[in-house]
């Protein structure tokens, strides 16, 4: 009677599938991040100015800020229900490295809540009258930048997982952390508008992505071990 | 009546006075939406009834099994 455990790969896939399955059952988890993104973007013409020229000036920043907020807020659902029903404890007690389990959950989460935001961004960009030259820059920087936001957010969530209502505290912890991503993203767009090549900025964002892929799940895993305590 | 037709030829009609893309895309969108909106409920109804039938058959089978006592309940 000795336990033959599954490989870490199988557990990784099982966890990824499970989280995608849960998202599939709670469809609103998929729809809401990008609805939120749309709605927040709508607030700016209303709150600031509906004139196309003025909108165009702020469009890139608004897109990035809205994406940032959507990413932060969607994080809330990352470990919450698992914590509440005890699945998170089971994950901590599994014989596999927590790093991979956390990574699987992060990937599932970005696929479900980050990717739709990126995909819908050109539409909002049009509505906000973003200059034509900036489209590609906005889209690509968001594509590379939002996973970084998710990975960073995951640390914040892991740190606050036991708290009842953490929407705000999460934002307060992780928004400052994500400022570098925001800067890299909006600078890239600004500079491409001024004619600079996009690739350099994308490389910076890519480096941020690789770094956070390697390190953020470690930090999240450590944080989870502490907070589930 | 036909003298009121606003287009002199078929190609004129398709061209829509230079607005072909706009006009036809709206009408195409409408037709697609129209068709989907009628087709989907009809297909869905068939599907619902099929599932319902399957469920009834299953329920019947399990009732039979329980009555014949082949059920293992610990």
């Amino acid at each position: 009677m000795s336990a033959v455990t599954t490989t870490t790969g199988a557990a990784f896939i099982a966890t990824l599938r499970r989280d995608l399955l849960i998202a599939y059952k709670k469809k609103h988890d998929v729809v809401n991040p990008f609805m939120f993104f749309l709605i927040v973007a709508t607030l700016f013409p209303i709150g600031i100015s509906p004139e196309p020229e003025r909108l165009g000036e702020i469009a890139a920043g608004v897109l990035w800020i809205a994406a940032l907020l959507a990413a932060m807020l969607s994080m809330d659902s990352l470990y919450r229900s698992d914590f509440e029903d005890g699945s998170l404890e089971q994950l901590l007690l599994s014989p596999h490295p927590l790093y991979f389990m956390v990574l699987a959950k992060n990937i599932a989460h970005w696929l479900v809540s980050g990717l739709p935001v990126v995909l819908v961004s050109p539409l909002i960009a049009y509505m906000l009258n973003l200059p034509d030259e900036a489209y590609l820059a906005v889209f690509l920087t968001l594509l590379i930048g939002t996973p970084v936001l998710s990975l960073l957010g995951s640390i914040g969530v892991a740190l606050t997982v036991g708290l009842g209502s953490r929407g705000l505290i999460l934002a307060v912890i992780t928004l400052p952390m994500s400022v570098p991503v925001l800067i890299a993203g909006t600078m890239a767009v600004q500079q491409t508008l001024n004619g600079a090549p996009l690739l350099g900025y994308l490389a910076i964002l890519g480096a941020l992505l690789l770094g956070s892929l390697a390190l953020a799940p470690l930090a999240s895993a450590a944080a989870l071990r502490i907070t589930v305590n | 009546m036909f003298e009121n037709v606003q287009f002199s030829s078929l190609s004129d009609f398709f061209a829509m006075g230079g607005y072909a893309f706009n006009v036809w895309s709206v009408y195409l969108l409408f037709v697609v939406f129209f068709a989907i909106n009628l087709a989907v409920p009809v297909i869905r109804k068939k599907q619902i009834l099929r599932e319902q039938k399957r469920r009834l058959v299953l329920a019947q089978e399990s009732r039979v099994r329980r009555e014949t006592g082949n059920d293992t309940v610990l």
């Binding site: 009677m1 000795s2 336990a3 033959v4 455990t5 599954t6 199988a10 557990a11 099982a14 966890t15 499970r18 399955l21 849960i22 059952k25 709670k26 229900s81 698992d82 509440e84 029903d85 005890g86 699945s87 404890e89 089971q90 994950l91 901590l92 007690l93 599994s94 014989p95 596999h96 589930v228 305590n229 | 293992t72 309940v73 610990l74």
Partner: protein
């Protein structure tokens, strides 16, 4: 406050080494000492019930043993070796069910068990169906768990006992919300597990009907 158990199970070769042993555990919370100099050994084939009044530290002890809580002093041994040195083997052989049973509310019992089994050892759906049937959830396999009653959710977690390969079970008040047939079922499961050479650590305020029961009292 300490118990040294001597009964031995014959079904295992390594039964001389206790499956789980604690040496000189000490824990305080909010400046109240919950336990100190706590020693015990749990051998293969044993069921050990942890007793104690409310707030005496049972849950805390179990979470410490599982590695979910590290606010303690002392050492914990798994088959003679410190747990921290062989976490992976330990976790491959551990099944913990706490106050929160680890059953996702949106998933169905089937989906829940599929996932939790894959973390340790994958099993066929047929096995899961059978396990769910055995714990009295026939017909609920595909209902989402939030539609189940408190006791039925508890039963989903009991089904894990049937499909997990783990040798050590650590169960925190598994009898709450179970009805009498559920209680009988669980007692039988504990018994069977011990007979097969497994080891069980369980807290409950209910008086367990298991032969050869060991007891450890806290507080």
């Amino acid at each position: 406050m300490s118990v040294a158990t001597t009964a031995e199970s014959e079904s295992l070769a390594n039964s001389k080494i206790p499956v789980l042993a604690a040496r000189d555990l000490y824990c305080e919370r909010d400046d109240r000492v919950l336990f100190q100099h706590l020693n015990f050994e749990l051998n293969a084939g044993q069921v050990l019930q942890i007793q104690g009044s409310n707030g005496s530290g049972k849950t805390t002890l179990l979470r410490i043993l599982c590695g979910l809580n590290d606010g303690y002093q002392g050492s914990i041994f798994w088959q003679g070796v410190e747990v921290t040195e062989q976490a992976e083997q330990f976790y491959a052989d551990l099944l913990y069910i706490g106050h929160r049973v680890g059953v996702s509310k949106v998933l169905t019992p089937l989906e829940n068990l599929r996932w939790s089994s894959t973390l340790q050892q994958r099993v066929d759906d047929a096995v899961i169906y059978q396990a769910l049937c055995d714990v009295g959830l026939r017909g609920f396999e595909e209902s989402q768990c939030f539609t189940l009653s408190a006791g039925q959710q508890q039963r989903v977690s009991l089904a894990r006992l049937l499909i997990s390969p783990a040798r050590l079970w650590i169960l925190d008040e598994p009898f709450t919300t179970l009805d009498t047939t559920g209680v009988d079922l669980l007692e039988r499961l504990l018994q069977q597990h011990a007979d097969k050479g497994g080891a069980v650590l369980v807290t409950t305020h209910h008086s367990l009907q298991v032969p050869d029961l060991q007891r450890l009292s806290l507080g």
